[in-house]
């Protein structure tokens, strides 16, 4: 992933992670793995972990410590009502932004074609 992708992802990763959690609860590594499956190949586990901590602090997820075969228990994150409300707003905002940027893109392309 390029620098620009990383920059653009910054503002949206919270929504993306909540969207993944809306499908089913998961722990940190599972979320990173699912993101990688979706094509976010270079995403660091620590970035996802830091983000999970943040959405936990903001009250968007409930956390349960589940014992693992080896090592410390894993923290499993479940989206709660507050997180669900945030996610809905995220999708509305995303649709708005995507639509506007797409329109801008087309308008600029049309103007360029007419100019030629």
């Amino acid at each position: 992933m390029g620098k620009q992708t990383t920059e653009m992802l910054k503002g949206t990763l919270e929504g993306i992670v909540l969207a993944i959690l809306a499908v089913q609860p998961a722990y940190g590594y599972e979320i990173t793995a699912r993101l990688r499956d979706q094509g976010f190949s270079d995403i660091a586990e620590g970035t996802v972990y830091a983000l999970l901590v943040r959405i936990e602090q903001r009250g968007f997820v409930d956390v349960e410590k589940v014992p693992s075969e080896k090592g410390p228990p894993r923290k499993v994150y479940t989206i709660n009502a507050q997180g669900g409300a945030y996610l809905e707003e995220f999708w509305r905002t995303w649709s708005f932004l995507a639509e506007r940027i797409e329109q801008l893109h087309h308008r600029i392309e049309r103007t360029n074609e007419e100019g030629e």
Binding site: G28, Y29, D42, I43, A44, E45, G46, T47, Y49, A50, L51, V53, R54, Q57, K70, G71, P72, R74, K75
Partner: protein
């Protein structure tokens, strides 16, 4: 339980205990995780400014941080998978999750309030 009088001078003993426990967890990490964790910790101490006012936030952060590295060590996750290409960016992102209590927030609030109080006062 009321804090003992000498804790006014020395800081909370519970915090000290929690901090010692955190240090022990980091010290117990195998290499290369121990060195990585200590390097980030050093950066937090210089850059964080999180302790000011609320040591509980600091303790929470350090415990989460220890959780992360213990898990990575057990799973044998490569350091690069944990921190990505840019360790500084990771450190900033991690600390930002706890940014609610940074010293700069006091100044941010002060700036916001001052400007808000100006609204409607200007002559037109």
């Amino acid at each position: 339980m009321a804090a003992k009088w000498y804790e006014l001078i020395t800081g909370s003993l519970d915090d000290k205990k929690a901090y010692r426990q955190y240090k022990a967890r980091i010290a117990a990490l195998p290499e290369p995780y121990g060195t990585a964790a200590k390097a980030f910790e050093r950066y937090f101490m210089y850059n964080g400014g999180i302790t000011d006012g609320d040591s509980a936030v600091m303790i929470t952060m350090l415990n989460d941080f220890a959780d992360l590295w213990e898990r990575a060590a057990v799973d044998g996750t490569p350091i690069e998978d944990i921190v990505g290409d840019d360790p500084v960016e990771f450190a900033e992102a991690f600390a930002a999750a706890y940014a609610g209590k940074r010293w700069i927030d006091k100044e941010r609030n002060r700036l916001t309030e001052t400007i808000q109080n100006l609204e409607g006062k200007e002559e037109r």
